[in-house]
Amino acid sequence: MGVAVTHDTREDGFSGLPGNLMMWILIFSELAVFGAAFVGFAVARALDPATFDMGQAHLDRLLGGLNTLVLVTSGYVAALGVEAGRRGLGGRARRLFCAAAAGGGVFLVIKMMEYSATLSAGYTIDSGAFFGLYFMLTGFHALHVVFGMGLLLVVAWKNSVENLETGAAFWHMVDLIWVILYPIVYLIR
């Protein structure tokens, strides 16, 4: 059974996507929603660049960049966990998935530091178009991090190869969305 699920032999079915098909339906719909929001953000900025540039100047670009390093590292650890699961190393897969979830925790701590600095500077979700969209997009993404951490821990516990692949696929989607969000919200001005 273990051999049948290595990715070298997984080419039929739903054209070889790892994990459960339902997860991929969720991933595609998430990507569509976030994609529309990113383009909407860019259009809103084009219509009022002064407001957006002034708002963005209050963000901590280095903390946002640090969070990119944290998420891509956590994603790497989850991918290693999938490899371990395929080799039948259930205990190692479990530890790696817990470590990947801990990486999500680090991301959230940094995000809270960022929010706390922004809020104490007097900027809230009601402080104009930039901050409204900033809090909505990053907050919605952070909710996905919370959900993803829960999912990583559940599949660390129930660690069949399909479960590990499914949990990791969601986590990589959260990673993917962040690497697109970061330049659009934090850097482009």
Binding site: A42, L47, V72, P183, I188
Partner: protein, 100 residues
């Protein structure tokens, strides 16, 4: 499998390097406008990061070619539209009256 793991590790290194590149190209320590070239630059780092994640974290290198095409097209579409919106404003195609 060993080869797969080493490519995965390489993907992680590439992602770390591109993330630092984005900070440099994106002038993280300044408030200066990036201009169209700088904006294209940071979007390119995001495109390459997205591709590493798609191919090696999400393992699309092992999936059908159609998925790679669709998801790469998704990244290109978003980056292209964001760049278009930026250029339209920066080069004064739209919003000239709102800027003042």
């Amino acid at each position: 499998m060993v080869k797969g793991i080493s490519r995965l590790t390489l993907a992680w290194f590439v992602l770390l390097a591109l993330s630092v590149t984005a900070l440099v190209v994106g002038g993280a320590a300044t408030q200066d406008s990036l201009g169209v070239a700088g904006t294209a630059g940071v979007l390119l780092t995001a495109l390459f990061k997205g591709r590493e994640i798609l191919l090696h974290y999400l393992e699309l290198k092992h999936a059908g070619r159609g998925w790679r095409v669709v998801l790469t097209a998704y990244l290109l579409l978003i980056a292209g539209l964001v760049l278009l919106a930026y250029a339209a404003e920066h080069l004064g195609w739209v919003g000239a009256t709102l800027n003042k």
